[in-house]
């Protein structure tokens, strides 16, 4: 419990103050190989949205792309960018709470499910319905994660996981009483065709198999909070912040490194042996079994299965920065003129070749250049 409180304090402090400083990337020697790697990595021109141009708050916790529309969950309301303008929904419009933490799209209906600090919202063509721990079976009002699986809406809350059957209205709760969840602070959910994964703060990753209704846990095999004794043998750490399940592959983020699991083998990522700019990762989004994006407290990282690219304002100067980190460890800076709004990244979503990134100081649109 003390550890959890400490982590919360660390998280909130970093969120509000921005990231700490680290050394600027040093150029490495350039060669043909490096040039080829550099050329293969995506480059973006970044356009940033803040309160100055319509966003209701600069603390952006979640982002979701729905065709031409982009939804942003901020500390002061839900915003949608459509037709070049932002429209904002607040508790006055029916939002359960002003702080919006998570977003999920029901692709079948186009409806949006919204996790807030005060309950779960269902947004459908402008109508907002609210589910709370008082007026429904929702396990807790603090909803960190949302996912849609057919007729079911899964939520990751501060008191375990909940599942709403939208067909019958039945709520099923999952917590320490019926899952291997030692801690019930669920922090994110990722829904696949056959499985649902939860990032559980202090209990690693929980896997729910849809066909059997059974749960399985994945935890840090060495059980050490400060050390990684068993590298590539399991989840890197049990303080899990994010999961992403794609192509039968699990990507898991923690505040102490990240992990990749293909069903047979684990691979761990740490700053010391990968291109991760930080071990403190708020969100991981797998593109497929090989590629993923990492939203860390020190920048946005892209991993193509071999090499890494990092996008951020430089930690010391704040100037736009991009660099490539090859598997050999070689680092190559890439000249860029724009950068995301801040190096503290919280969430990412994709719009064709573009990316949208939620940061601690605005929402950033990465417009693909190459």
């Amino acid at each position: 419990m003390k550890l959890r409180i400490l982590m919360v304090l660390v998280f909130m402090t970093l969120l509000l103050l921005g990231a700490g400083k680290s050394a600027t990337v040093k150029p490495a020697g350039a060669g043909h190989e490096a040039e080829a790697v550099t050329a293969s990595m995506p480059r973006f021109r970044w356009e940033n949205f803040t309160t100055a141009n319509g966003l209701p708050d600069n603390h952006v916790f979640a982002v979701l792309v729905d065709g031409d529309r982009v939804w942003a969950g901020t500390e002061n309301g839900l915003a949608v960018f459509e037709g070049g303008r932002w429209k904002v929904f607040t508790p006055k419009d029916g939002l359960a709470h002003r702080a919006v933490l998570a977003l999920a799209l029901d692709k079948s209906t186009g409806d949006l499910w919204v996790g807030t600090m005060g309950g779960l919202n269902h947004v459908s063509a402008g109508r907002i319905d609210t589910y709370t721990q008082l007026n429904s079976g929702l396990s807790n009002d603090v909803v960190y994660g949302v996912g849609v699986q057919g007729d079911y809406v899964w939520t990751a809350t501060a008191a375990g996981a909940s599942r709403l059957n939208t067909r019958t209205g039945e709520w099923s709760l999952y917590n320490e009483r019926n899952t291997p969840m030692a801690e019930i602070w669920t922090y994110a959910v990722s829904v696949g065709a056959d499985k649902v994964y939860f990032a559980v703060w202090g209990s690693g990753v929980l896997e729910y198999t849809i066909a059997t209704g059974r749960w399985k846990d994945y935890t840090d095999p060495d059980g050490e909070n400060e050390l990684v004794l068993f590298k590539d043998q399991g989840l890197i750490h049990k303080i899990t912040s994010s999961v992403s399940y794609v192509d039968n592959t699990l990507w898991a983020a923690t505040y102490f490194g990240d992990s990749h699991y293909d069903g047979r083998s684990w691979h761990n990522f740490l700053t010391k042996d990968s291109g991760l700019p930080s071990n403190f990762t708020n969100q991981v989004r797998g593109l497929d079994a090989r590629r993923a994006w990492f939203c860390t407290d020190r920048g946005l990282a892209y991993y193509d299965g071999v090499n890494w690219a990092v996008y951020r304002p430089a930690l010391d100067t704040g100037k736009p920065e991009m660099y490539i980190r090859e598997t050999s460890g070689k680092i190559t800076p890439v000249p860029v003129e724009t950068a995301p709004a801040h190096n503290y990244m919280l969430a990412i979503d994709f719009q064709g070749n573009d990316v949208w990134v939620a940061t601690a100081k605005g929402l950033s649109h990465g417009i693909r250049q190459k």
């Binding site: 186009g110 063509a125 008082l134 007026n135 209205g169 709520w171 009483r177």
Partner: protein, 630 residues
């Protein structure tokens, strides 16, 4: 029409029907005999694309009647599912679809077999809970079905019978219409949205884009509760909804001032230039429970049935829009307004419900639900030209049938303002709270309950003050609702007979074999427990099953369960029955609990309403799951 004449004609509807019959050929009376002696209760209709056949849904007899439209002859009686509600025909006319609201199915009928006199439902399609309205998309591939209990619209692939998706619609989603170009489907709902207690009722028209199969828009209608049919003009520029505006936020003491129900239309679309609510009532006479609506092909007229007043109102569209545009402020409560755009009030049979306009626009057919007849209206001359007797088998009207006729007519209320059916929509409830007068203004604000399966649940009223249904419906109704002499003793007896005859609809949360799910079983154990989680005995009066005992889960006694408010004269309330309790949110005597959960999470801090504060959230969810099965 003279108002007094209208009332007189309504009360003599049987004689009127006989008179009208002389205006149509003899063969317009049923030529295909009804096989049983059941009442039919025709409610909705649809034409075949060529206008040759008219399909009529009969709620009571579980039949689809097929009429030769030109001859007014019933050529087929097709058995469908239980309590059918609506019929739709595929664009090519080859398939006919009927929603069976108590079976949760759609009957699919091959139209080619109809003339062969052997037609039956060729197959059934499973639906969500209580399918009501339906339309077919212009491609003939997708059914849009409004599910009244599930509050949504299902999109069902006709070829496979598989539901492709469900779109959230209004509370009690019921009626659908598709635009002439097939690009939009419009859905209305009969119960208002669940809002915080004592707020203005809210409703919506849900607009579905058929290309994206997603909700494109929700047209908000504040102050509206109880929406029925919606219709679109042929050019798509005008939409019309039949609706009620309850005045439930003021004490029900102003019947003489017309301050109980307003009956109106909402017009919307490009012609309206927005959303405009227009009253149908007059200064001294009301046209209650507007239900079916149609727009003439040339858009010159709007037809709307007043199902409680046995009248079809004909509106001059041009005058209506001109008048509406001339008014800068809302005029829906201006009872003098309708004189500016109402062309005619055409008397039809008892309880007119759905309408169907012939493809050429010359005839409007009206389903007279309580007469088992159809009225035929000449749309160019605004007059009834005949009545089609559908051949209801019963020659002697039963007490319950007479009672249902009384239940659905507003002729007993002062100025014909409303009927039982205004608040008990389709013999259910209305989702509203009312401030009744006898207990003083602002006191004892109460909701009305579902009125199915009431035998054995006496006494009535939330304070248990009415020992019998005769008291509930007799003197109380005369004095505090209708402000009239109301019913004669035989009429009251018939009305009571009808209400007691209402069966419970199927419970959608209980498996057909009665087996409970694991969560429901756990909830049942909580409902019947006598010891709390700490091993301490729960006082008898704090056990769920003590007050909610017996087959209907009511001890028929009153208790103080801690839910009384400062507005209540007494904190003691009659124990409500729990039959189909899942359907009747919001809850408690004053609808202060928006959900079953809130009964205990918000309104039971001291365990007076059952011992529940030792329960975890999971366990409370289990209890709710069990309650939904009752």
């Amino acid at each position: 029409m003279k108002r007094g004449l209208g009332i007189a004609l309504a009360s003599g509807a049987a004689a009127l029907a006989m008179t009208l019959l002389s205006a149509v050929p003899p063969h317009a009376q049923a030529s295909a005999a009804n096989s049983g002696d059941q009442y039919l209760s025709p409610s909705e209709m649809a034409f075949s694309p060529d206008g040759r056949l008219l399909y009529v849904v009969c709620e009571r007899s579980d039949q689809l009647l097929v009429l030769n439209a030109s001859q007014g002859v019933v050529v087929q009686r097709i058995r469908v599912g239980h309590v059918p509600r609506t019929v739709a025909v595929s664009p090519n006319g080859r398939q006919v679809f009927v929603t069976n609201s108590w079976d949760d199915t759609i009957s699919v009928i091959d139209a080619a077999t109809i003339d062969a006199a052997k037609s039956t439902a060729t197959r059934t399609i499973a639906t969500q809970a209580e399918p009501y309205g339906l339309v077919v998309d212009h491609g003939g591939k997708t059914l849009y079905v409004a599910n009244r209990i599930d509050n949504d619209v299902s999109l069902i692939d006709i070829a496979t019978g598989v539901e492709r998706k469900r779109l959230t619609a209004g509370h009690g989603s019921s009626y659908l219409a598709i635009s002439a170009d097939g690009r939009r489907v419009y859905c209305t709902h009969v119960y208002p949205r669940i809002v915080p207690q004592r707020r203005v009722p809210q409703s919506e028209v849900t607009v579905i884009d058929t290309a994206s199969e997603a909700v494109a828009e929700r047209i908000p209608l504040d102050g509206v509760a109880g929406m029925f049919h919606v219709a679109l003009s042929a050019d798509g520029r005008l939409g019309v909804v039949a609706q009620m505006r309850p005045k439930n936020l003021v004490p029900l003491a102003h019947v003489e001032h017309g301050w109980v129900f307003g009956h109106s239309l909402t017009v919307f679309g490009a012609d309206a230039g927005g959303t405009i609510e227009v009253p149908l009532d007059e200064l001294e006479h009301y046209y209650s429970l507007p239900y079916g609506v149609a727009i003439a092909p040339d858009k010159s007229r709007i037809f709307v049935t007043a199902s409680g007043s046995d009248v079809v109102t004909v509106i001059d569209t041009k005058r209506l829009l001109a008048f509406a545009h001339s008014r800068r402020k809302p005029f829906v409560n201006d009872l003098s307004a309708s004189a500016n755009y109402v062309r005619a009030r055409i008397v039809v049979g008892r309880n007119p419900r759905g309408v169907a306009m012939s493809p050429n626009g010359r005839r409007l057919y009206v389903a007279n639900r309580m007469d088992d007849t159809l009225s035929v209206i000449d749309t160019l001359n605004d007059r009834s030209v005949g009545t089609v007797d559908l051949g209801g088998g019963a020659k002697t009207i039963s007490a319950a049938r007479r009672g249902e006729q009384i239940f659905t007519t507003s002729r007993y209320a002062f100025q014909g303002q409303f009927s039982c059916a205004n608040c008990h929509i389709d013999s259910t409830f209305d989702g509203l709270t009312w401030d009744l007068e006898p207990d003083g203004f602002g006191k004892d604000i109460v909701d009305n309950r579902l009125i199915e399966d009431l035998a054995g649940t006496e006494p009535f009223k939330w304070n248990g003050g009415n020992p019998s249904m005769a008291t509930e419906c007799g003197p109380r109704t005369e004095m505090y609702f209708y402000r009239s002499q109301s019913y004669s003793p035989p009429e009251l007896a018939d009305l009571v007979d009808y209400i007691y005859s209402l069966p419970p609809r199927p419970n959608r949360f209980r498996a057909s074999d009665g087996q409970l799910t694991a969560a429901q079983e756990r909830g049942k154990a909580i409902f019947y427990r006598q010891v709390n989680k700490f091993g301490k005995a729960i006082p008898e009066a704090n056990q769920c099953a003590y007050c909610h005992s017996g087959p209907k889960h009511t001890s028929q006694k009153g208790f103080d369960v801690g839910t009384g408010k400062w507005t209540d004269r007494s904190p003691v309330f009659d124990t409500p029955q729990l039959v189909n309790i899942a359907l009747t949110a919001p809850y408690l005597h004053d609808e202060s609990a928006s959900s079953l959960e809130e009964i205990w999470t918000v309104f039971n801090p001291h365990d007076q309403h059952g011992a529940t504060n030792d329960l975890t959230k999971d366990e409370l969810n289990d209890l709710v799951e069990y309650l939904k099965t009752l």
